[in-house]
Symmetry: C2
Subunit: 241 residues, 2 copies
């Protein structure tokens, strides 16, 4: 994110781990980055409350604080509870990661959940103009309810497929290639992303139960095909003889 | 297939159902099409033996017979058993369908299983030059073993997702979009294709058992995360605070 923002604005970044900063991004202390006009948190949900408390004293009146976590209900609550009333808040979720950006950012989606203040429209305009992003507005609840299914199911499918090592790579259908590509995109997700999707989304258990119930139904149908399925096959075969 | 072949060769087609023929394709009787230099069967596996018996008397010495079914072990055995020794045989599986061809055929894969005769190389050269297809050679067993996993898993995932009606369409990650696209490609598969993948592939039960076992492992891990998973999350969160 810092790398893509750097050509547009001056970017300071603080990372407690020793990481190399992208070109045009200035390393800085937590106090320094917290004193900026716009502050973007990119931390695991589990670390968010602690980081917010550390940052709070340095935040300038009128600053805009955003996050980029994979779930929104819990981070939105933490931002509202821990950060001073004199800063504006927008919770966000870019619905893509470094793997997808390789093919260009135009048309990729980002969700904005305006929490406090009136600057979400301006942020949306910037994201559209600078990067060609498709900006979606939603409440944190709306986001988590939908993401529990879309992001959640991808995550479950990817986990199962990654457990199946040595899947064939030669005789592959076009549709399998697409699924494989989806799995590769989430293969290197940080542990925190994975756990956020599974645990921190209040709707994830419901989505998971629904998916596993349908999987079980498919398994049973494969073992003992239903009468209508068998009949449809016979009818189709008859048409050819 | 007939539509794409018509610009290259004269194409006669026989379909027992009343269907409209593509431009440049001549409707004909079973006897007429069976008397051609190259005969391509596109029928459900369940109808294949009966159709082969009907065609056999009309096949010319030196003709080339091919099929295009989604599995290869059983169709290959039927072609060998039912068709006269004086015809050449190549079992094939185009690893794509009408849904994928919309975006162009170049780079799409087709498997050729040479069964009898020496014309597979020439067929491969034609498919590469005329359509830009990636031609893979395999035995029927090699094909079915790999397809049981690649085609088979796509099929199971698609079946489960198609059962989940009203999946969200707005807040979708890039990786979910790819899976959704894969599901749409197989949504309209004929009943026979679906049943061939599930039942007529001798390796499909093994692939299915393996996939469902990993799905169950994922389910259990979601309900009660393992100690290493919890530890990894805590370590990651600590690095930020």
């Amino acid at each position: 994110m810092a790398e893509y923002l750097a050509p547009h604005v001056a970017v300071l970044a603080h990372d407690p781990r020793a990481v190399e900063m992208p070109v045009g991004v200035e390393p800085a202390s937590l106090a320094q980055v917290s004193g900026c006009d716009i502050v973007i948190l990119a931390v695991p949900v589990a670390a968010m409350r602690a980081v917010c408390r550390e940052m709070a004293p340095y935040l300038k009146p009128g600053a805009l604080v955003m996050d980029v976590g994979s779930v929104k209900v819990e981070p939105a609550a933490i931002l509202r509870e821990e950060l001073p009333a004199h800063v504006d808040l927008i919770a966000t979720h870019p619905l893509f990661g470094p793997q997808s950006v390789g093919q260009g950012m135009a048309g990729l989606k980002i969700v904005l959940c305006p929490l406090r203040g009136t600057r979400a429209r301006r942020v949306a305009t910037f994201l559209r103009r600078a990067f060609g992003l498709a900006v979606l507005f939603a409440t944190p609840e709306e986001h988590d309810r939908e993401a529990a299914f879309t992001q959640g199911l991808t995550h479950l499918i990817a986990k199962a497929m990654l457990r199946m090592e040595h899947l064939p790579e030669r005789i592959t259908t076009r549709s399998f290639d697409l699924i494989r590509q989806a799995v590769e995109m989430v293969r290197h997700d940080a542990v925190g992303v994975s756990r956020a999707i599974e645990q921190a989304n209040p709707f994830s258990a419901e989505a998971r139960d629904c998916f596993f119930a349908e999987m079980e139904a498919v398994r049973l149908e494969c073992e003992a095909p239903s009468l209508p399925a068998v009949r449809a096959e016979l009818v189709e075969a008859w048409q050819f003889s």
